[in-house]
């Protein structure tokens, strides 16, 4: 059900019919908090083009992670419609969401959550092993991604034997393993210093652009937004776009 990425050469061709990677239509998320309620997202509308990179900028607690979680099928919305790569996931059951996550989205979490007892390469391949296994193609893809991410010589290292930036790159590779329509980066550089953060952003941009994959990059750091095609601001659950 993956929509094939368009060749970049014909990308400008507007006649080519392409579904947006993400379409949020009046999405609302309310967390119950005892008797009160926390409105984490208030009627969010957002469209991310099929190969667009959007920076999501906002202060802490503004609803960035909530938005990503809903877009990635990790959290269900209180109201509104969510369409990812042409797939309407609004009414999906837990089971359908599980396969949706397995096939259609990639995540890079705020805290790098690699499997501690697996090597860098195995941390990529694990994505394939969780679903319907493809075996050899997945291994080739993992090797290719590690190569692109400059980790070829670290493939056999455990996360504990990698630097913070290297771990972040492994997490990026893992997010790309299932050839997703949309990759969600939740503060991918917050744990890195400025220079390393910029290197990682550079890498994310080249990976996204070479594949024509859409991405949302969450940050509260205005300095890295220029790596993205455009920025969307969020304050107290309200999007400005």
């Amino acid at each position: 059900m993956t929509i094939p990425s368009p060749p970049t050469a014909v990308h400008f061709d507007t006649a080519l019919h392409l579904e947006p990677a993400l379409h949020l239509d009046d999405v609302r998320k309310v967390y119950p908090m005892g008797d009160a309620e926390v409105v984490a997202l208030a009627s969010a509308n957002l469209t991310v083009g099929s190969d667009e990179m959007v920076a999501l900028v906002g202060p802490s607690g503004s609803g960035k992670t909530t938005l990503c979680s809903i877009a990635g099928g990790i959290l269900s919305a209180t109201a509104g419609r969510i369409t990812v790569g042409g797939q309407d996931i609004t009414g999906f059951s837990d089971k359908e969401l599980t396969s949706f996550r397995q096939e259609s989205v990639g995540f890079v979490f705020q805290a790098v959550n690699l499997v501690p007892f697996l090597t860098a390469r195995e941390n990529l391949i694990v994505v394939d092993e969780l679903g319907r296994r493809t075996g050899a193609p997945a291994r080739e893809r993992a090797d290719q991604l590690l190569e692109e991410l400059g980790l070829a010589d670290r493939a056999k290292n455990l996360p504990s034997q990698l630097s913070g930036g290297q771990r972040q790159r492994v997490a990026i590779g893992r997010a790309l393993m299932n050839e997703p329509d949309l990759v969600l980066f939740d503060e991918p550089t917050s744990a890195l210093d400025t220079e390393l953060g910029e290197q990682v952003m550079e890498l994310i941009r080249s990976e996204m652009k070479s594949r024509g994959t859409a991405a949302i990059v969450v940050t509260h750091d205005e300095r890295i937004t220029h790596f993205c095609d455009r920025s969307v601001h969020i304050i107290d659950g309200h999007l400005d776009a």
Binding site: N113, V115, V126, L130, D186
Partner: protein
């Protein structure tokens, strides 16, 4: 699943505690089972060895040879039945035997049988004064050609050969002629002496189903000998009716059951701890698209592998223990059947134990993976 097994390989240390405890439990289980089998074997061997369809006791004997008496007239009545093809008398007396070269107080417990129809593995009735000895008596120093002195009267019998698995009440059997049995009984247990052609029980071969044959015999003896009616049992029923056998089995099976429950609790606790510890990891895996069933299958796979490894070590230890114990010191009978049964029970305990973590695995929210909280 691959992930779970890889974790087992990469981090065996995490599973060592559970593995060691399970190994000990498995040893206990196999040891208890072997002991039960050995005890039952030692108390039922002589009856199990009977090559017959039916064993006939007197009605009031509660299937105990010592309490049972069959008069010759009763035997004649039974022999009249057309379905009965062969009838043999059987009697036993339990005594202490003096073994040459052993200390004067080192009595070997023996059960001297007088028999007419040879049990399985026992040759035909020997000459008076001669006996075939059960192999377990070798542990007491009994050898072929030896003269044993039985009971307070020191009745002499000569061992002319060995037979196996014919113990009675935990004592090694000596197989002798009916006359020898009567003489020894007469000399050592004057209170229990039997005259002439009286036996304690009869073994009967016939050409009807054992249960039918038993019913026929009991019906005819009840009709013609109201005062000395019989109670006949097929050999398997007679084995179970031996006083103490069912009680022993019941007690041991209860202990074995409790041991299995302990194994189950250990596995349940261990794996629910592991699940709690791994909640973060499981959240991430779910966010990456792992189904709960995949995660739970991995947990079960780990429990099964740990149990199998523990069981293998335990089986090896039990077999080694069996080999190391001097023969005759403990009635331990280690068999493949018992080991396999123990392993299967432990595997069931492992799977059931894991299932206590199922709810927790199901409840882990993929959303726990995202954000700064994890």
């Amino acid at each position: 699943m691959i992930l779970a097994l890889r974790e087992l390989r990469r981090r065996p240390g995490r599973f060592a505690t559970a593995g060691v405890i399970l190994t000990l439990i498995a040893v206990l289980l196999m040891f208890l089972g072997g002991l039960l089998d050995g005890l039952i074997q030692a108390s039922t061997g002589a009856v199990r060895a009977q090559d017959a369809d039916v064993i006939v006791y007197s009605d009031n004997a509660q299937a105990s040879l010592a309490r049972s008496r069959i008069e010759p007239e009763v035997r004649e009545t039974i022999e009249l039945l057309s379905a009965v093809t062969e009838v043999g008398g059987l009697g036993v007396v339990q005594l202490g035997a003096r073994v040459p070269d052993a200390g004067p107080r080192d009595l070997a417990g023996v059960a001297l049988f007088g028999y007419e129809l040879a049990p399985t593995g026992v040759p035909d009735t020997p000459a008076d004064g001669e006996v075939y000895a059960d192999e377990v008596l070798r542990a007491d120093g009994v050898e072929a050609g030896m003269e044993l002195l039985l009971g307070p009267a020191r009745s002499p019998v000569t061992v002319i050969g060995f037979v196996s698995d014919t113990s009675f009440n935990g004592q090694g059997a000596l197989w002798a002629s009916p006359a020898t049995w009567r003489d020894v009984l007469d000399a050592n247990r004057p209170d229990a002496r039997v005259s002439g052609e009286v036996f304690q029980a009869l073994v009967v071969r016939g050409d009807a189903e054992p249960d039918d044959l038993a019913a026929m015999i009991d019906r005819i003896t009840a009709e013609y000998h109201t005062a000395s009616a019989t109670r006949s049992l097929s050999v398997p029923d007679a084995v179970n009716a031996i006083p103490g056998v069912e009680e022993q089995q019941g007690t041991f099976n209860q202990i074995i059951g409790v041991t299995i429950v302990i194994a189950l609790v250990v596995i349940a606790l261990f794996f629910s701890l592991i699940t709690v510890e791994r909640a973060g990891l499981y959240g991430v895996l779910k966010a990456l698209g792992a189904r709960s069933s995949t995660i739970f299958a991995g947990l079960v796979a780990q429990a099964v592998v740990v149990t199998l490894i523990a069981s293998s070590i335990a089986a090896a230890l039990t077999i080694a223990l069996d080999a190391a114990l001097p023969p005759g010191s403990l009635p331990l009978a280690v068999s493949a059947d018992r080991i396999i049964t123990s392993v299967l029970l432990l595997l069931v305990a492992a799977v059931v134990g894991c299932s206590f973590s199922l709810r927790r695995v199901l409840r882990i929210d993929p959303a726990s993976a995202i954000g700064s909280s994890s």
